[in-house]
Homo-oligomer: 338 residues x 2
C-alpha cells in the first residue's frame, strides 16, 4: 500500500468510553482516513461527533454497515463482536476487536505491537487487541522477559472505573457527590457495592476456580502474546475509586539470574514504556500521572525479597489508551506501514 | 490479680486517630479502669475527651506522667516512644507500644493475641503491637499456616488514609471537596501526590533495597510473630482513597499440599476472623464493610494458579481497631485475665 493511501474506517461502539477515545486517537495520530463511519446501538444513533473539523452522525449498527470499509474497530461488548465481527470481516474489512470474543481463537492474532506486532500481518480478517490489564502488565514484563525469561508472575491490580465504561465513571461521580451532600444511601447500578471511598476485589464474573474472568486473562492471553505456553500468572483484580488509568503491582519470577542494572537497561530501551523510578525524589508512576498518556509508566523496580530470580515492579497505564483504543489503532498502523 | 481489680491506665497520643480509637475500645470492652490519664503534645493539652460518663482533660506528656500508672498505651510516633516508653516502664507501668520503635527488640514481645498471646506474659515492662498491615495479613495467614506451614507470601496492600492519622483523613477530604468545587489545584501536605481519585505505591520511607519501611515489616515482624525465621514476604504497599480499613491481596505458598476444604475449615475456626466468601452472591470483604468491626474479614479464597502448594486470598481489617487500638487493648486483657 502506498503511504498516501487513505482508508474508509468504521468504529463500532463509537459513543462508549473506548470508542470516543479511539476517535480521538485516530485524529491525534493522523490516521489516514478518507471516510469515517461511526456505529452504535439504535439508542445512540443520530448523535453527532466531531472528527478533525467534520461532524459525523452516529448510525445504528447493522449487518450492512461494513460495505467498502477497510478497517473496522469494535469497541462494544462480546455479544456485539460475536455477531458482527464475522460479518464485517466477510465484507472485506480488517477488523480489530477490543472485546474478548476472539482473543483465544488460534486463527486470530492477539497483538500488542511493541511485543508481537509481526503477527498482525498473518491475520485472516480479524485481529484481537488484548485485555487492558494484561496489556499494561505485559508492556513492562516483556523487556524483562527478553532479558531474563519470565516463568511466572503474581499480580494485583488497581483498576479505574472507566474500565466499566462511561457508566462506571458516572457511578463513582454520583456516589461521591451524594456522600459529600450527606445522603445516607448511594445509588448502585454497575457495581454491587459502593465504589466511592472503597475498593472491590471483583472485576468481571467469577469462575468456578474462584478467580474472575478478568484475572485469568493474564495467563491465557499472556501465553499467546509471549509465545510461552507454560507462563503462569496468579492475579487479583481490584476496582478502585480512580477515574482513569489502571495500576498493577507485579512480582515476577524469571528462569535466569536477574540484575537491577540489566533490568533498568532493558526497561529504558523498551518501546511504549517510560521508567519513572527515583523514589528518593518521590518519582514513581501513579494512575493520575499517566492519564491521557500513550506510554505506560513503570517504577518501584526492585530485586524481589521472596524469590531468587525475582523482580518486583509497579506499572500504570491509561487503560482507555494503551489498554484499548491506542493499541487497536497501532495494530492498524502496522498494516498500513507494511 | 483478681478479676475485680481496676487499673490506672494512660493513653499517650490520646487525641490522634489511634489514641481516640483506643479510648473508645477501652470503653466499649469495659476495660477495668480506675483512673484514665490522657497524654498528648503540649499543643493538645487542655482538650477534653469523654470516657464513659466522665470528661477527662488531656495533659501534656512529661517524664513524670507515669507515676502509679498500671498500663500505658503509646499511640504516638517512634520518637515519642523511644524517649518515653522506657521512662514509663521504669516507673512500673506495663507499656503497650503501637509504634515500631521496639518491635524488633528481642527483649520485647511482639504480640497478636490470636497468634502468640502467651508471649505477652514474658514481658519486661514493654510489649509491642505489630504493624497494622502485618497484623491484618497474619490474622488470615496464621490459621492457614497452622494447617499447611507457610513458606512465603507475595502481598499487595490497599491502605486507607487514616493510616496516616487524622491528617490523612483531612487531606483526602479536602482534596475531594476542592476537586468537586472545580478548583484546579489541590493542597498536598501529607502525601507527595494527590490521593483523591489516585493511588500511591508509597507508604512510609524508601529503603536502599527499593522496598519501603512499611513493606519490609511483613517479613521482619512476621518472622517474630510466627516464630518462623525463614518466612519470606515480598510486599507492595499502596495508599488508596479509602478513609478507613486496609485490604491486602495475598498469594501464599506452603510447605504442605493445600486443600480448599481444609483451608475453609481452618479459617472458619480462627479467632478474630470472619470468612466472607460467597462470590456467587457478591459476598466478599471490602474496606467499607469492615469499618468499625473488631474482626477482620477474609474472602476470595482460591487455589493459586501459579504455585503448587499455593492459596490466594483477600483480607480486610479496620486498621485503627485490629491493626492498632484493639490489638493493643487485647494484649492488656491477656495480662489481667492471667
Amino acid at each position: 500500500m502506498s503511504i498516501s493511501k487513505r482508508f474508509h474506517v468504521a468504529v463500532v461502539g463509537a459513543t462508549g468510553a473506548v470508542g470516543l477515545e479511539l476517535i480521538r486517537v485516530l485524529q491525534h495520530r493522523n490516521f489516514p482516513v478518507s471516510q469515517l463511519t461511526l456505529l452504535a446501538s439504535p439508542r445512540s444513533s443520530g448523535k453527532v461527533l466531531r472528527f478533525h473539523k467534520e461532524e459525523v452522525i452516529v448510525r445504528a449498527l447493522e449487518a450492512s454497515s461494513f460495505t467498502r470499509v477497510d478497517f473496522a474497530w469494535f469497541c462494544a461488548d462480546n455479544k456485539i463482536s460475536k455477531r458482527y465481527v464475522p460479518i464485517a470481516a466477510e465484507e472485506g474489512a480488517v477488523v480489530i476487536d477490543n472485546s474478548s470474543a476472539f482473543r483465544m481463537d488460534p486463527t486470530v492474532p492477539l497483538v500488542i505491537p511493541e511485543i508481537n506486532g509481526e503477527e498482525a500481518q498473518h491475520h485472516k480478517g480479524i485481529i484481537a487487541s488484548p485485555n487492558c490489564t494484561t496489556t499494561i502488565t505485559l508492556i513492562g514484563l516483556y523487556p524483562l522477559h527478553q532479558a531474563f525469561d519470565v516463568k511466572r508472575i503474581f499480580a494485583s491490580s488497581y483498576q479505574a472505573v472507566s474500565g466499566s465504561g462511561t457508566q462506571g465513571i458516572s457511578e463513582l461521580n454520583q456516589q461521591v457527590h451524594a456522600l459529600l451532600a450527606c445522603h445516607q444511601n448511594v445509588e448502585r447500578k454497575i457495581y454491587p457495592h459502593q465504589i466511592a471511598f472503597n475498593v472491590l476485589p471483583h472485576v468481571e464474573n467469577f469462575l468456578d476456580s474462584g478467580y474472575t474472568q478478568e484475572e485469568v486473562k493474564m495467563q491465557n492471553e499472556g501465553r499467546r502474546i509471549l509465545h510461552l505456553p507454560k507462563f503462569r500468572a496468579s492475579v487479583t483484580c481490584v476496582r478502585v475509586p480512580v477515574y482513569r488509568a489502571h495500576s498493577i503491582a507485579v512480582f515476577a519470577e524469571f528462569e535466569k539470574p536477574v540484575s537491577l542494572e540489566m533490568a533498568v537497561e532493558a526497561l529504558r530501551r523498551a518501546p511504549g514504556l517510560r521508567l519513572v523510578d527515583d523514589v528518593a525524589g518521590n518519582y514513581y508512576p501513579t494512575p493520575l500521572g499517566v492519564e491521557g498518556k500513550e506510554e505506560c509508566e513503570i517504577g518501584r523496580l526492585r530485586l524481589d525479597s521472596a524469590m531468587e530470580n525475582g523482580l518486583a515492579y509497579w506499572i500504570c497505564g491509561d487503560q482507555l489508551l494503551k489498554g484499548a483504543a491506542l493499541n487497536a489503532v497501532q495494530i492498524a498502523e502496522l498494516l498500513i506501514q507494511s
